[in-house]
Symmetry: C2
Subunit: 245 residues, 2 copies
């Protein structure tokens, strides 16, 4: 069987997230599977690199599926982008070795989170950023970023229940870029626990406003208590930018 890898961009605003639910019409996975099933004439299930929550976006989500279809790759991408809704775009279609698995083989991910930091909101960024008007101490937040980089048990910065699986993850990059009223946060790491980016973001923002102290990071690493960390920021500021293999 052929194994096909998809690189997918989506505006998550209208969707319940990546993962197919009963009502497949409202999920990204469901939408893509429906079109692939039409395209190949057989029921297709796709494997995503991981879930994204309702309202979260992707510039480079990866998925794969198996098919006996003889269709050319160029025809596939044309068919997909013709029939998918315009807020889901397949950027690339590639044939990969049969053992390629979009989730198991992922060695890392890049996410970005965007904060509109101005008391006047933005009409254009409303679905693509968290509009947060409080003043922020960027230097202090950069210091907090440096504390988060490296290998740590991030369970306290996640919405996971206690688990036997390891919750140690490595963050290789966590940086802040300012562009006018926009703050762009970049996260690169070997894996991210459920809601980890959004809880780290909430913690960084609360450190930036002075609500939390810098020391909270080491505390949560040690005591693993979710409620000691910051808020979970809204999903619409979050983008899955890239998956590494």
């Amino acid at each position: 069987m052929r194994n096909i890898k998809l690189t997918i961009e989506y505006d998550g605003t209208r969707y319940l997230g990546w993962q197919r639910l009963g009502n497949s019409e409202k999920t990204i996975q469901g939408k893509i599977e429906n079109i692939l099933t039409q395209m190949t004439g057989t029921k297709i299930e796709i494997i995503g690199s991981g879930r994204t929550d309702a309202g979260t976006h992707a510039r480079g989500q990866i998925a794969n599926f198996k098919t006996d279809s003889k269709m050319m790759l160029a025809e596939m991408i044309d068919f997909l982008n013709r029939y998918l809704p315009r807020d889901i775009v397949v950027k690339k279609v590639e044939e990969v070795p049969e053992r390629f698995h979009a989730r198991y083989n992922a060695t890392g991910k890049k996410y970005s989170y965007h904060v509109w930091n101005n008391e006047i909101p933005s009409a254009f960024e409303r679905h693509y950023s968290f509009q947060f008007s409080q003043e922020l101490d960027i230097d202090l937040m950069n210091e907090a970023c440096r504390k988060l980089i490296g290998s740590h048990d991030f369970i306290g910065f996640s919405s996971l229940k206690k688990t036997k699986k390891s919750t140690v993850r490595t963050i290789d990059e966590l940086s802040i870029q300012q562009e006018g009223s926009m703050l762009h946060f970049t996260f690169v790491g070997n894996g991210f626990l459920y809601k980890m980016v959004r809880i780290i973001m909430g913690t960084l923002l609360e450190i930036g406003t002075g609500t939390l102290e810098l020391g909270v990071i080491d505390e949560v690493f040690e005591n693993k208590i979710r409620s000691d960390a910051g808020m979970t920021v809204p999903s619409q500021g979050l983008f899955l930018d890239e998956v590494y293999y």
Copy 2:
């Protein structure tokens, strides 16, 4: 009476354009007037610098209105941004001399038009650009821009019927900036006729693909025949960026 000047940003995707129609709920002017009427307790009419079409956006539309309200400017902007839909934002509220008129006093405008020039569409730019996949000769288009700059009778590049009023306008700047797959076109001039930016854009794109020749510009200046110019490109790529006084 006080005269209040508003600087307004809007995402025009959901609206029938700037100008209030019978059903005020679907226009930007109607939305803003409704909130101002609630705010002041008396019926308010606002004067915009000019109309924008359905789907067209603004980063710096200007409007003014007269009121006896004693409300402070800071309260006004808070009230407006609290009750306006999130795709309309008042960026600034200023008190101006009573004779200031948003339309009559405008001395120029800056528009931008955005083209996504790639055969793979963009999930994020779909409401904010014209997705145009044909290959473009940018050098030739730059040459065409230079021919359009200056004072000319632009009636052939507009959807206006013949009129006794002058249809001579001056374009001071018309430039193209490339940023990945996006082409940003900037128009600065003392005034723009109905649909003039969109018809010039269509002409530039058709020159860029070779469908029209460079000479078409001088021809249309001379023969004033709308149908000799290029297509009218879609409204969703167009932004009113700034109004000059």
